[in-house]
Each structure stands twice: as C-alpha cells, then as structure tokens.
C-alpha cells in the first residue's frame, strides 16, 4: 500500500456494488491499500452477533452481568446498565477480556470499553418502553453515583480511596490481567449505578425499584471499599470522586435514586486518581453484535441504537436513524420543558446516508405526470402519517392539519383500522423514506450533466513536493470511476500565478494550453472545448495528466492565484454547474482575494494572551463568501484537496467548500511517500460515493415546532430551504428546532426532510424521510429518550461554529457548562430523592462527561494547535455525520503487537478490542494503533521486541522509525493481521486515514499522547477522573 499506486492497478468495481463487501467477508477486502476502495460507505463495524435491540433484558440479566466481566460489550442489554466495565477489568487489560465471553446481548455490564458500547446502552432502556409494564423497570437505569459511599467523608479526604486503587493496577498502563477475574464479580454490581440508567425520574419512581437491591449494596461496598481508605490520601483527594464512579460503571440496572457516595470535591491528587480506578469510569463499549432495529413498533416510534454501533434498520414507518436522528426521541410538549432539561432539540439529517448492505434499498415511487401527492397548504409530502378520511377521499396533513382531497386516481378505501387498504403495498404509505421521481415542475432546467472540473496547483512548491504528480496520478486513475456515458463532462485546468486551461478537443496532436493571466479579473479562454465529454476525449485527458508534472517541472513561479483559478474554473462550468475539485498546495498570494500569512505572528499558535487570537480563524475576506454564494447559485460544488507543507489559510479557503456543499481535505505536512495513496483514495471516494447535484433541502415539522436553523455545508438564500450544489453520503446537516406552540401530550410530532436532487445519471429525484415521534410532558421521558450521540454532535457543531469568534477558554467552559447543566437538570428534576452528595448520571448520558472531556481536548479546542489544523477541524466538523463525529472526538485505540495471539474471529471482527484512551494502557513494550477517522497513529513503544517491529514495518529498531510512512504488507502473519485490521478500519470509516508512525521522545510521540484524552495534560485539562470530580463538585455547588 505504501507504494504510490501505479496507474495499472486494477480499479475497483463501482461503489454501488461494493456495499455488500463490507461486512460479508474479510477476504473481500483487498489486502493492499491500493485496491482498497473507499467506495463502500459502510460505517458499520464488522459483523457482530445480532442483538435485537428491542429485546429488553430482564433485570436479572443485570445481575448476571457483573459476573461476566469479560464479556464483550457487544450489545448492552437494554435495561442493564450499559456500563461496560466491570470492575474486574480494572487494572488489567480490558480489551483483552472479551475473548472469553461470547457476546451475549444481555450482559451489559462487563466488557471492555468499546466505543460503541456505551451508546448502545442507553437505547436499551427505551426499548423497554413499548411494553408499558416494562417501562418502569427501564427507568431503573442508572444514575451514577458518586464514588463516595455513605460513609464518604468530606471532600478533602478522598484521596484515601485511591489507596485502594493502587492495588488494582500498577501505575503503569498495563494492569495485571488477573485483577480482572478477581475483582470482577464483587464490585461489578456496584458499578452499575454509575453507568446509570438514563433516568431516574421521581415520578415513575416506583417501578424503577427493581434495581434497588443492587443499588444499595453497591453503593455501600464501594463507598466503603474505595473510600474507606480515604484517609490515605491527603488533600489531593478530589479526583477520587472520579475514581469511584468508574466502579459503578459496571453496574447493571442501578436505581436512579440510589444514594451513591458523594464524590469528593476537594482535590485528590491526580496521580492517585488515575491509578486507582480509572478502569471503572464509564467508557464506551465495543459492540460486535449486529442490532436489528425496526423504526416503529406497535405504531410507536422506536428508540434507535447509538449511531456508532452496527445495526440493521427495518423501515416500518419512520425513516432510518441514518437519515434523520433526533437529539431526543420524544418531543417535549412545551418550550419550558425543553429549557428545563438543558438539552437541545435538533435533528441530525444525513439525507444520502449509506445503507447497511443488509437493509432494503429505498423504494422509488413514480407518481407519473402529476408528481407526488402533497399537502396543498404546507406542501408536505405524502407519508405514512397522513390520515385518510371520508372513505379515502380526503386526507389530513400531519404537519399543518390541513384537509386535502385525494386525487381521484389515488383514492382507495379504508380498512377497519382506518388505514387505507393498499397502505402496505404503497411504499409512501408505509415507509419512512421513499424517493419520488420528480416531474417537470421540480426542474428549472433539464437535470444537469455530471460535470467534473479538476484544478491542479502547479506552482513551484506543488511541483517540488510531488503534490502535482500525486494529484495528476490520482485523477488519471479516478477517471475510470466516473459515470460512463455522454452525460459525463470533464475539464482540467492548472494554476500557479496564472490560470491554465486546456483545450481538450483538438483534432491535432496535443492539447492546447490556454493561459488566463489576468488573475485580478478572470475569465475563460474558450466557451467550448474546455469542458468536454469524457467519452470523446479520454485519450487527450490521460495524455495531458501524464504530461502536466513534467511540463511544469522547472516552474519557478512560487505564487498561487488560487482564488482566481477557482473563479475561472467556475466560469468554465457555470452554465451547467458541477463539481470543482481543487488541488492546492500553497497560500493564495496573488490575484483576486490574495491572502496573507496570518499565522506569522503567532507562530501558528493561538495563545490566550493575544488580542483576538481567534481572528485568523475567521475568513480573511468577506468577498469569498460572496463568491461562494455565486458558485452555489450556479450549482457548482467545490472540494479542496490541500496538499501542503505550509500555512495556507484554511479558514479563508474553506468558506468556498463550506458554502457550496463541498469539503476540505487536508494533507499536512504533505509527504510524497505516504500521501499519494490517500489522496487517490479520498478522491475516488469523493467521486464514487453516493451523491447528488443541484439539490434543495427542506425540513418540515408538525405544527408547534419549527425549524430554527440549519448548520452544515450549504448555501442558504431563503430561510426555509438550503441549497446544496452537491450533497453526498458523508454530509450531514444539523437542523435545530424550536417551539412556536405547545404540543398535545400523547400526540405525535412529525418531521419530514425532503431533498430534491439530481443523480449522477441525470434523474431528478425527491428523497423524502419522515420521522414521527411521540410528544411528552414528562421530563424523565426526555432523559430516557435522549440520544447522546446526536446531542453530542449537535453541540460539537455549535461549538465549532463558535471557535472563530470566541476565546478558547470561554468555549471550553461553555462546553463543560452544557454538560453540567444537563446533568444538573437530571439531578434536579429526576432524582430528587437522592441526596446531594451523589453524583448521578442518566443512563442515556452516562458517557456525556467523557464526550465532553474529549471535546475540550479535541483539535478544535486544544491550546497548542496550528491555525490551519484548527480551521480544518472546524470545517470538517461542520459537515461530519454523527458516527464519524463520535470517533473523531473519541478516537479508538487498539493494541497491535499481539494481533496474532489474539483470536478474534469468533466475533467476526478483525479489530481487537478497544483500549481506553489513557496512557495507563499504553506499554512501552507494545505497539498501538489509534485512529479517529481522519488520522491513524501507530505508536511503537521504546521496548518493543525488535522482531515484531521488523515483522510489521520492515525495520528493526525503534530508532529507525521513519517520519514518512506508508504501511506495507510483509510476508508474515502479524503483518497480514495488521493490514487486515487497518483495512477493516478503513472500511468502517470510509476513510483511508493518514498514517503516522510515532515513537517516544519526539513530536510524533507527543502527538500520539495528545490523543489520550483520559490523561491529564498541563495545558488542556484534567484527567477523566478529575473531570468527573469537577462535574460533581459543580453540580453540587449549583444544587445547594
């Protein structure tokens, strides 16, 4: 894989077909990266045992859970506390634990923290709801209890607790495995509470009790155990609070109200805290089982599984959560109720999200000339929630309530249940997502052709770093993947301080280069023949791409007229619209909207002392926005591939992709060794992923709720619609909602997202996704129905928006406050019975603190980050989908030095269990792989067996670690395993990932450790346990 792809490499099959590959078989994955085809968007992790999410584990299961500490986090049982960690794991290797237990759906508690795990937990509680009776039990889920047992001493002393911890694990990352077994059974139960079932609502109160037995004991033991030693530690104790919670984590269905030992506020020493019980803190669990999910059951909306786990959706009326996911799966009836719960009501919309291969394709409905049936008032599209009356002659709109008459040819009698008799045969009446064939009324012009315009930087730096060659090679290979047929148009231009077009349609020997030298006021040099039919001019194009790098070999122009070039390319495809793919390497320094190196003063860092340090994160010139809007109006979607070794002012550049529905790819520092392959794969995925052109999207809501705002990469010209010159399977849009009226308790509130777009093959379609959720007046229900992932992504995106305009510290504080407020609200409204000393987490939000902590330590909010890195992060976040967002902020770490010892096959996944992001779990004798969907880091410990190093990387000592790296497969099982793992990850992420080798003692090592967000760092904040303690303190302070 390391080798740059030779042009001869066979091309992957088209994307569509790929899908299946993913999970089916590993072998389908090409061993070598070159072949790896990102086409297949399968966000799904490897196959896993299926756990029907709906199944509620009996409470009893929870008990069992503790006993099986090691079991995979798999699918957390619904009721059971999600908390994956069983105390046993504590010190030791969590990740490895799993092998023992086949993942049993039920056993929630135990399990190594897998990122997916936790989310799965929360859903379960809801699952219970359907059966009315079960409800209460579900409620039982866990509030987290503070570490402190009843006996918990005052704040100060806590440190003692740590003493105990010390036994658990050696201070170093690798805890002795034995611990696991020993401990697991005992403490496990106690953990439960921490993990917390989402809700502890006082009202439903009684039912929740199922848990009580446990809770009581749990709390007690812990408190005592851990804390007893309290004395041990002097003032440093504060963190201990944090420590404790971990233990609770494992707990099954703890009682919300359970009194947990109060966390100790006063500071415990960090070290102690960490050493002690970090394993017991709530952490994500990996689920290898596949969840079957019906969107509606019993005519009620079902709470979806977490975004990042593997699930298969059956559309039974509501749309798949892949397309639309609400932050709360019940809609508060009033605005006040929403305010009280401290959460945001918003929809995560990803209209072209890829399907799981086992899911049914979206039905396409053609209504003929009349077009789809729509409400005459609000124009809502026909959906399963529109009610037919008067023998089917009329229908009532579920958005505005307007009564419309059914067109004659569409009439059908109603059955005894009030549904149309043909409802089940008509997808638009029984499916949450359908695609309508658009009629002429939906077209301002004929559907646009698929137009691709490649713009390549050939300035001196681009040439010298190999970026130009990489871009040309990538394009040249990718051309084969473009849609066939006469509708595919293609153009190529290059630029340095001028813009060079190519007349590709010449009869005679070679293309003609046409230079547009006026970069202050650009134009196109030809009206035709700059963009040509691919099928006619393939030869010329290939020849040109081959010769570009040599043609500019001696280019001594260092300046770049990037903006002018984009503008010129835009003019070339203005009449049709299309995709503009720009490969750029240096700061745009000449021509229109030239930019200056704004990072010069701050050395690329933002230090808090400077005035307006965030200024460079804002676009330098407002004209960029104006220009971008013009692009969007002409349906031009811009993607920028930044292959650079210097500052390029992404903050400014990203305005254009950000407004036109495109995105920025960032290769910094560009390496001609490791990046060309990624560039190719990114480009290929960009072109082959499911996508549409000239799209317009609108979300409609039932009366009482209205759209507040849209966030994402698009252009908005009128308040109700967003214009998307390009939309693809990776792009998500956040739609925040607001109340403009009260809703009826017990009624349903519907949301409908309609996306009108043109496919790459030139069909005009309307994809309509409808989601209907119950309304509630009960705040406890809200907490139970909370979707942590969606909530998190929503606030992640809002934070990202804020970064350019607000000091970092303030934002971090804000982020923490949002977390505190949610937990506080829960504490205030749902767990009134508990004493103030307890730290209780709602089950659904039990990972909220970890997410929050990770967010404050993310690239966007870290202190020492290059301006461009931060800008890129901001732009990336603005369009990121929910599953990718979670892993972006909370990377996955796995050990790879012992891959071949570990038999993972049983659970069907090549990927070994995930390690917590703490340096405790990193041994200098191991090799670790950490990835967040964008970057992949492989850390080679300083004491690793050189044999292993040689097997994996081909060099024998750590000192030889190269700075530029391309993963290769060597002829040994270990290397093969590693490559399998890497490829599996790539498939999951739909991203090739940028790989870096890291070793201790240099910048790469520091980079690696900066991703371990559970560790305390001097600049960026506390350790996980300290953070929990901080939260607890803050909540307590507010409570009192």
């Amino acid at each position: 894989m390391a080798t740059p792809m030779p042009s001869g490499v066979p091309r992957q099959p088209p994307p569509q077909t790929d899908n299946p590959n993913f999970q089916q078989k590993q072998e389908s994955l090409p061993d070598d990266l070159q072949k790896w085809n990102p086409n297949k968007p399968s966000p799904f992790p490897g196959s896993a045992p299926t756990l029907p999410p709906l199944v509620r584990p009996p409470p009893s299961s929870s008990t069992s859970a503790p006993s099986q500490p090691n079991s995979r986090p798999g699918a957390p049982p619904p009721l059971v506390v999600p908390g994956p960690n069983v105390p046993p794991n504590v010190g030791s290797v969590r990740p490895f634990g799993p092998p023992n237990g086949p993942p049993s759906p039920f056993r929630s508690p135990s399990g190594p923290p897998s990122p997916f795990g936790p989310p799965s937990g929360p859903p379960s509680p809801f699952g219970t709801r359907p059966p009315p009776g079960s409800l209460p039990s579900s409620m039982g889920g866990g509030p987290v209890i503070s570490p402190r047992g009843s006996g918990a001493p005052g704040p100060g002393g806590r440190p003692g607790a740590f003493g105990s911890s010390s036994r658990n694990g050696p201070p170093v990352g690798v805890p002795p495995p034995m611990m696991v077994t020993g401990r697991s059974p005992g403490p496990a139960p106690s953990m439960g509470p921490f993990v917390g079932s989402p809700q502890a609502s006082p009202k439903p109160g009684p039912p929740t009790q199922s848990a009580p037995p446990f809770s009581a004991p749990l709390a007690a033991p812990f408190g005592t155990q851990t804390w007893a030693p309290g004395q041990v530690a002097p003032p440093t104790a504060a963190p201990n609070a944090a420590v404790q919670p971990p233990r609770m984590f494992g707990m099954p269905p703890p009682q919300p109200n359970q009194p947990l030992p109060a966390i100790d506020q006063t500071g415990a020493s960090l070290e102690d805290a960490r050493k002690i019980n970090s394993n017991q803190i709530p952490r994500p669990t990996t689920s290898y089982s596949k969840i079957q999910y019906d969107t509606r059951q019993g005519n009620q909306a079902n709470i979806p599984p977490p975004a990042s786990c593997d699930y298969i959706v059956k559309d039974t009326g509501n749309c798949s959560p892949r397309y639309m996911r609400c932050t709360i799966h019940q809609v508060p009836c009033t605005a006040d109720l929403l305010t009280n719960c401290g959460m945001e009501l918003a929809l995560m919309v990803q209209p072209l999200a890829p399907l799981h291969p086992s899911e049914e394709p979206i039905p396409v409905v053609d209504f003929g000339e009349g077009g789809p049936i729509r409400c005459s008032r609000c124009k809502g599209y026909i959906n399963p929630f529109m009610r037919f009356t008067d023998h089917g002659r009329q229908f009532i709109c579920n958005f505005c309530g307007c009564v419309g008459s059914t067109p004659h040819e569409y009439q059908c009698n109603l059955g005894p249940d009030g549904r149309r008799r043909d409802a089940d045969e008509r997808p638009e009446l029984c499916r949450g997502t359908v695609e309508f064939v658009a009629t002429k009324d939906y077209m301002m012009r004929d559907p646009m052709p698929a137009v691709y315009f490649f713009l390549i930087d050939v300035s001196m730096n681009a040439i010298r770093t190999g970026a130009t060659a990489a871009a040309c090679a990538a394009i040249s290979q990718v051309i084969a993947d473009l849609p066939e047929g006469p509708r595919t148009m293609l153009g190529i231009a290059t630029f340095d301080s001028t813009v060079h077009f190519y007349n590709l349609k010449r009869v005679l020997h070679q293309p003609l280069m046409l230079i547009v030298p006026d970069v202050h006021d650009v134009y196109i040099p030809l009206e035709t023949d700059v963009v040509v039919q691919l099928s006619e001019c393939r030869k010329h194009i290939e020849q040109l791409l081959e010769s570009i790098p040599t043609m500019f070999q001696d280019n001594s122009t260092a300046e770049s007229a990037f903006v002018a070039a984009i503008k010129a390319a835009f003019l070339a495809i203005k009449s049709s619209g299309g995709k503009l793919l720009v490969f750029q390497s240096v700061l745009p320094s000449v021509g229109m909207i030239a930019l200056s190196a704004r990072d010069a003063e701050g050395r690329g860092n933002i230090s808090a002392g400077e005035k307006e340090p965030h200024k460079p994160l804002q676009p330098a010139d407002k004209a960029l926005k104006t220009m971008a809007i013009e692009f969007a109006e002409c349906q031009v979607c811009v993607d920028v591939f930044t292959t650079t070794q210097t500052y390029v002012d992404i903050a400014s550049i990203s305005v254009i992709p950000g407004t036109t529905g495109g995105q920025v790819y960032y290769y910094y520092p560009f390496s001609s060794i490791s990046d060309p392959v990624k560039l190719y794969n990114d480009l290929r995925w960009n072109i082959t992923r499911p996508q549409g052109f000239e799209a317009v999207m609108r979300v409609r809501c039932s009366q009482g709720i209205d759209v507040k705002e849209y966030h994402g990469n698009f252009c908005k010209r009128i308040p109700t619609d967003v214009d998307l010159p390009g939309i693809d399977s990776d792009k998500a849009i956040v739609v925040t909602l607001k109340h403009d009226d009260k809703l009826q308790d017990g009624s349903e509130c519907a949301f409908q997202c309609a996306l009108l777009y043109t496919t790459v093959y030139g069909q005009r379609r309307i994809r309509v996704s409808t989601l209907s959720l119950p309304c509630t007046r009960n705040i406890t229900n809200l907490f139970r129905a909370t979707d942590l992932d969606a909530q998190f992504v929503c606030s992640l995106k809002q934070v990202a928006n804020e970064i350019p305009f607000t000091p970092l510290l303030q934002i971090r504080e804000q982020v923490t406050n949002i977390c505190i407020n949610k937990l506080l609200a829960y504490r205030k409204f749902c767990t009134t019975a508990t004493t103030s000393g307890q730290f209780i987490l709602p089950e659904a939000l039990k990972l909220l603190p970890l997410y929050t902590l990770a967010l404050t330590k993310s690239t966007g909010l870290q202190t020492d980050v290059k301006i461009d890195d931060r800008s890129f992060w901001i732009n990336y976040v603005s369009h990121i989908s929910t599953p990718s967002a979670v892993c972006l902020v909370l990377p996955q770490m796995i050990a790879v030095h012992n891959l071949d010892f570990d038999k993972q096959e049983e659970n069907g996944s090549a990927i070994p269990p995930v390690l917590p992001l703490s340096s405790e779990f990193v041994s200098e004798e191991g090799i670790y792989l950490l990835e967040n969907g964008v970057n992949g880091l492989i850390y080679i410990g300083s004491l690793v067996d050189s044999n292993i190093v040689r097997q994996l990387f081909g060099f024998s000592t750590v000192e030889e670690t190269p700075t530029q790296f391309a993963l290769q497969q060597y002829d040994n099982p270990l290397s093969k395993k590693l490559n399998d793992v890497v490829n599996e990850i790539r498939h999951q992420r739909c991203s090739y990932l940028r790989w870096t080798l890291c070793r201790k003692g240099d910048a790469s090592g520091a980079l690696f450790f900066s991703y371990l967000i559970e560790d305390a760092t001097p600049k960026d904040g506390p350790s996980y346990s300290e953070f929990l303690a901080h939260l607890h303190r803050s909540i307590q302070a507010k409570m009192s």
Partner: protein
C-alpha cells in the same frame, strides 16, 4: 508619370519645395497663397550620396551638422555655422583640413551626406553595440471565414520564409479574446489569453505575461541566478529567431482555427482588435529599448469588442459613413480614435511600428486606426480579401529582399535646423512630434507641430514628409547690409537600417530670399506647381479631418482664384485677357482634379478608404502624389507609339486601348472595337500578331508600375461600356455628357454626370480671377 519619367526632380536631396525662392516677410509669404513647404524623402537612396564612417561635427550652439555651406577658416581651424553664425573649432582629428584637403561633407556637391554611426564601435567594449535584430509581431484576426483564414495563413507562412533568419518573431491571434502564443514552450502549444473587452495597460500586459518587474521578482529562498543571468530573457519566450520558430509557427498556423466563440445570428463576430494591438504593443515593451520592432496586424473586419470598437455587434447597425461622422452620428468613433491615439503614443515611446493589412468587404476601422499607423510610420494596405492580389502582392513585397526591398528602417529621428526668421509650423506625414521646442518653432501648428524634432518609428526609402514653414519677420529687419541673401535648411535624420546599423543622413539646403514686394517674377520662377498641388491636397485633407465644417471645395476655389489674381496677367474685369505664366499653367487643372478627387469628394468612399488614401497621399513623393490627384492616361493604338492622352472623355475611342494610372488602381480600358476583336480571338492568329502586341503592351506597362509600387495597386481590365469601365470614366474630365453630346462620333463616349467640365471650370476661374 510621363513628363517626369526621365528626370529626377528631387535630386540628391530628395527634396521638392513649393517655392524655390522665399519671400522675406510674413505678409509677403501669405500673399503667395501657396504655403512655403518642403517635401523631403529623408532616406531615399541615391547613388551620389556618400556614406561617411564617422560622426558629423555639430555646431556647439545650434547643434546643426557641419555642412557644405559652412564658412571655414582653414588657418584658424574654425568653421562658422550658417544657421547661427557660431564659430566652432575643428576638433584635433580635423587638423589635416585645408582648402585642398576637405572632408567629404564640405564638398559643395554633397549637400546630402550619410554618416554611419556604428562604423567605429568602441573596441574596448564591443558588446556595447549589440546588433539588435528586428522584431516582427504578427497580429492575426481569427474571425474570418475558413477560406480567408486559409489565404492569410499561407501568406504568413510565405512571409516567415522570407524573414531574415535572425529576426525575432512573435505571434498574437485574436477574436473574442487575444491570444499571445508562447513560441518558446516546446511541451505543448501554449497561449496566453487576454480578455477582449477590457482595456489593458502595458504594465498589466507585462505582468500578466510574466515579463514585468513584479513577475520576475525573485522569490525568497529560490535561486536568483536564473533571473539575474538574463534580465530580459522573459521576452524570449514569446519572440524567437525566425529560424528557430518557423516550424513551430507553421504547425501552429496549421492548427489555428477560426475564433471558437459563437457568433449570434444577426451579429458581427466579436473581434477585439484593440486589445490585441495593446497586448502586442505591451509585449514589445519588454524588448530592449531601441529595438526596431513592428506589429503587423492582419485584420479581417471591424473591431466590435472592447477598446477600439468601431461598431456594435448588431449587424443591423452599419459601420459609420462619412455622413455619420459629419452629423456626429458615429457613437464609437471618437472613443476609438482616442484609444488608438493612446496606443500610438505608447508605440512611439517604445519606438515601434504598427502596420495594418486590412482585408474585408466592409470597413475595418482604418479611419480610427489611422492615427496609430501614421504616427508610427507604419504601412497600410487595404484590400477586399486576403486572397486578392492587392494584399498578397503587397504583403510579399514587404518582406522581399534586394532590389525590391522596401528598405524598412526603424527608429528614425528627424531634426530640422533653419535660418533665423524661418519657423516650422509642422509636418504632414508619417511621424510624431517630439514636442521639442526651440526658436524655430512656429506658434501656428499644422500637422505634427510645436517641435523641431520628430520621431519616425518606421520609415522606408520612399517615406516622404511635408514640412510647412512660416516666415517670422514682419519687416525687413535684416537690411541689405547683412548680406544673407541665402536661407538655409538642414534635415538630420538618424535611423536604424534594416541590418540594425545606426545611420545619420544630413541634408542641407539653401535657397534665396527675394523681396517679392518689388517683383513677383523671381517668385514665379521658383514655383513648383506639381509640388504646390500636392501640398494643397495634403493641407486640404488635413483641414478636412481637423476642422469641423470645413468646406474644402470653396477653400480650394478661393485659393486658386487668389493665386490666379496674384500671379496671372490680365486686365481688370476682362476675363478674356487672362493668361498664366507657364510655371503656373498646370496648377488650375491640378486643382480641378483635386476638387473631383477622392481626397475632397469623400462621400463616394467610406471613411476607411478616405483614411487609407490620405495616409498614402501624405507619405508618397510628389510625383506619385500628383498621380493620385491627377491620374495619368496613356493611349495605345495601331497608328502610333503609346502616348499620353488627355484625361478627358474625348480620349476614349473604339480602336484604342487606354491605360489609366490612378495610383491606387490601374485601369486597362479596351475600346469597343478592340474588345470585339479580342473576343473573336484575333490575337491568337498569327497574322494578327500586331494586335496581340497591342493588347500586350498596356499589360506590360501596368506590370512595371505595379512592381515598383507599394501598396500594390488594383489592376482593372475592362472594356468600353462594360461595368468596370466606371473606374476609368470617374477620373475623366466630363467634357462630353448627356447634356452636350451633340457631336458624338462613333466610338467616343459620354459620361453621365452633372459635374462641370474643365472648360467650364476655367471659364469661371478666369472670370473670378480678374474681378477687382
């Protein structure tokens, strides 16, 4: 042609003057009616002109060159400047001078000498005298039909083959946009595209072509060697020696297509001639200063895009006519002229030439571009197609070497020194005033004035200028005692010859002052009526262009009457007593023909044609210009040798062939009988060889004329009563019209016109001249 054929009226000096003796005072001069003017062909070659391999001595006060009229004190080694009477010492290397050992320039017969300024390069620094190769930038219109483009391509290819090998060649093509071809880029055809609708400054052109100082600014951290090595190399990307780029250019021409931008139906092609010329000019701006360069514009239609636009794209709007210009109804005209005027300024400041080859059925905007062509001394050829012999012949001629060479020179500079009391009003002809003020500069400006020095970016052997003078003294200040009965004029022309050598030509003239108040006799004998007619034509043309509402016919009539009144002999109010001295006898006829010529009767022509005619009128020598005004007519018949015929309809006869030379066109006119014989094929029968020879004779003569003329005249062969016969009839004196054709004999002809005939014109003239 005929009467002057065997004499050289211009002599070694290539000078003709309206008056060869000059009146003393301003009043007397104005009484002469015909202005004091000198027509000079500054670099006309003449076998008697010596070329001296050194630089001339200059007077230290007026900087005139040492000449044959200087008074030399051989003992004191001093010469006295005839213009300012400054005494100048000879420099040491003239120490050998004596009455018997004179330097060439002091020989009395060498009133014109030529100095070769580079004959003596500094031996220490030979590189200081670079032989700058001439530069040719072709600017080719692409908005043509395929056929025309084919013609012009092949003409260009032919021209490329004729260029000297070391000459640098550049290529700009244009349509909706202007394309500068980078000939030095071998990987791929590379073209810089300039938008057609936006005015662009020289600096912008240079910067955008990467030739500006900004473009070459070394970037920090990169080797500077490249830039420092050849400070001007940038332009080598665009200008290559003809030998190097001939292949590239040929293949480029092969691939060149007509403009790719679509033309809406009912519209003209969008053609950005203005921008293309600006860009070419800007490109040349990157050349070393002093490089001789010409832009050769091949234009196939009017500019419709951007600066210099002369007409809108809408075909329903015709190109401006004289009537429109008169009524100020040509919306683009003034703006376009302003644009080309500024272009001219830029070209002149760079010392570069604009040649215009326009070939189209409709106008292309020569009237607007005239200023840029004329001020830079460029060539202009107007034809109706690139396939027409007028274009093909002229274009080929331009690049011809040897005998037929036009002798295209660059970077000419003309300076004039003259005796006190003589003021220079200005110059009519292909040059630009350098605004060099001095005591000899008149306040009255005619043509390029307010100066004693002129720039001639391009000039050739036949380039001719008309200098108009004025007398400043109002009274006879220099009383008889001063003895300077002679006036002196000196023309210094420095230029770069086709080989790149720097030359200086010095022509010093002397003429006599006369006191015309006493007697006009001397004046009359010094009158050159042919020169006077041409000067009048030039002045009239100028006034028609410059003065709004100028009535040329009346002005000419009035002046003619004044001339006749002053110089005729008559009794007052007795028309029949009127006689003219032979020195004036032809003048009225010249005026009669001038009144009828295309220079005055512009409404028969388009503004483009008028501009074209006038440019040639101004730059041709007196003899040729006289032909333009009054064509020559030769008659061929069995009975006699070819002989000049009267320019009169009466000259037409059925058994004659007439050859009319109207300069721009040459008409061979077969009388009716001749035509019939020819149609019956007698010429191919051996027994009628004489007939064949008769038919042949005018063609041979016509070819001779065509060969030595640039631009190549249009040859019209026609028969009596044929449609083409109008080319002849229009030029003839309508002595027989339908009004008075009483005595029509067989074979003669009449002209359908209401114009007055020469006879009637004379009658009126006599009447008016004698009026008191």
């Amino acid at each position: 042609m005929s009467e002057m054929a065997n004499t050289d009226p211009e002599g070694i000096d290539a000078v003709r003057m309206t008056w060869n003796v000059w009146p003393r005072t301003k009043v007397e001069a104005s009484a002469c009616v015909i202005p004091l003017a000198v027509s000079i062909a500054p670099i006309r070659s003449h076998p008697d002109i010596p070329t001296l391999p050194y630089a001339p001595l200059r007077c230290k006060s007026c900087s005139s060159a040492l000449n044959a009229f200087a008074r030399v004190d051989f003992t004191a080694k001093i010469w006295i400047c005839p213009f300012c009477y400054q005494r100048n010492h000879f420099p040491p290397h003239y120490a050998m001078i004596s009455e018997t050992n004179l330097p060439c320039e002091l020989y009395p017969q060498y009133t014109t000498v030529q100095y070769s300024l580079q004959a003596n390069p500094d031996p220490n620094n030979p590189s200081n005298v670079p032989q700058l190769p001439p530069v040719f930038v072709f600017v080719l219109d692409m908005c043509m039909i395929e056929e025309e483009l084919g013609f012009v391509k092949s003409a260009m290819k032919q021209a490329l083959g004729l260029l000297p090998e070391h000459a640098l060649v550049g290529f700009v093509s244009f349509g909706t946009q202007a394309h500068v071809h980078e000939l030095g880029f071998s990987d791929i055809s590379k073209v810089y595209v300039f938008r057609g609708n936006k005015e662009i400054s020289k600096e912008q052109v240079l910067e955008q072509l990467g030739l500006g100082s900004a473009g070459r600014r070394p970037t920090a951290g990169y080797p500077k060697g490249l830039q420092n090595g050849h400070s001007n190399t940038g332009v080598n990307r665009f200008l290559l020696p003809a030998s190097d780029c001939e292949y590239t250019l040929n293949s480029l021409l092969d691939e060149l297509q007509t403009d790719q931008w679509p033309v809406q139906p009912g519209n003209r092609a969008s053609r950005c001639t203005g921008v293309a010329l600006s860009v070419a000019t800007g490109l040349l701006g990157a050349c070393m200063p002093g490089t001789g360069a010409r832009i050769i514009a091949l234009v196939g239609g009017p500019c419709t895009e951007g600066p210099g636009t002369i007409v809108s794209k809408d075909l329903s709007e015709p190109v401006r006519s004289h009537k429109d210009l008169d009524k100020d109804a040509a919306p683009y005209f003034k703006k376009a002229v302003r644009f080309y005027d500024s272009l001219a300024k830029q070209l002149v400041s760079q010392g570069h030439v604009l040649d215009l080859f326009a070939s189209a059925l409709d106008q292309v905007g020569v009237a607007e571009m005239k200023v840029a062509v004329e001020r830079t001394g460029g060539l202009v050829v107007l034809a109706e197609s690139f396939g027409h012999s007028v274009f093909k012949g002229s274009f080929r001629r331009m690049f011809k070497d040897g005998e037929q060479s036009l002798g295209l020179c660059f970077n000419g500079l003309l300076e004039i020194n003259c005796s006190k009391d003589i003021k220079i009003q200005g110059v009519i002809g292909p040059c630009t005033s350098l605004e060099k003020k001095g005591p000899n500069v008149s306040d009255t400006v005619i043509g390029e004035g307010s100066t004693s020095a002129w720039k001639m970016c391009g000039l050739d052997k036949s380039t001719c200028l008309t200098v108009l003078f004025d007398i400043s003294s109002t009274e006879r200040s220099n009383a008889p005692g001063t003895a300077n009965s002679q006036l002196y004029l000196q023309f210094l022309t420095s230029y770069q010859d086709p080989e790149g050598k720097r030359m200086l030509r010095v022509t010093t003239l002397t003429r006599q002052w006369v006191d015309s108040a006493v007697s006009t006799e001397e004046l009359v004998h010094g009158f050159d009526q042919e020169a006077a007619a041409v000067v009048m034509a030039r002045v009239t043309s100028l006034k028609m262009e410059m003065e709004d509402g100028f009535d040329a016919t009346r002005w000419l009539d009035r002046n003619l009457i004044r001339v006749c009144s002053k110089f005729g002999e008559y009794r007052k109010d007795d028309a029949s007593s009127f006689t003219l001295n032979p020195c004036f006898s032809l003048f009225p006829q010249f005026m009669f023909n001038l009144r009828r010529s295309q220079f005055v009767q512009v409404f028969n022509n388009s503004p483009d044609e008028t501009a074209y005619f006038r440019m040639l009128l101004n730059r041709e020598n007196i003899t040729n210009a006289a032909v333009m005004i009054q064509p020559s007519l030769i008659s061929y018949s069995f009975n006699s040798l070819p002989q000049p015929a009267l320019l009169d309809v009466a000259s037409i006869s059925a058994d004659r062939i007439l050859l009319l030379d109207a300069y721009f066109s040459i008409v061979i006119f077969h009388g009716m009988t001749i035509a019939q014989w020819r149609n019956m094929g007698y010429q191919s029968q051996p027994e009628h060889q004489a007939f064949s020879q008769l038919l042949q004779a005018p063609h041979v003569d016509a070819q001779m004329i065509i060969q030595e003329r640039f631009p190549v005249p249009r040859l019209v062969v026609c028969d009596q009563h044929g449609s083409q016969a109008r080319f002849l009839l229009a030029k003839l004196n309508p002595s027989a019209t339908y009004n008075n054709s009483i005595d029509m004999t067989a074979g003669s002809d009449i002209i359908f016109t209401d114009d007055v005939s020469l006879q009637i014109f004379f009658e009126h003239l006599q009447k008016l001249a004698v009026q008191s």
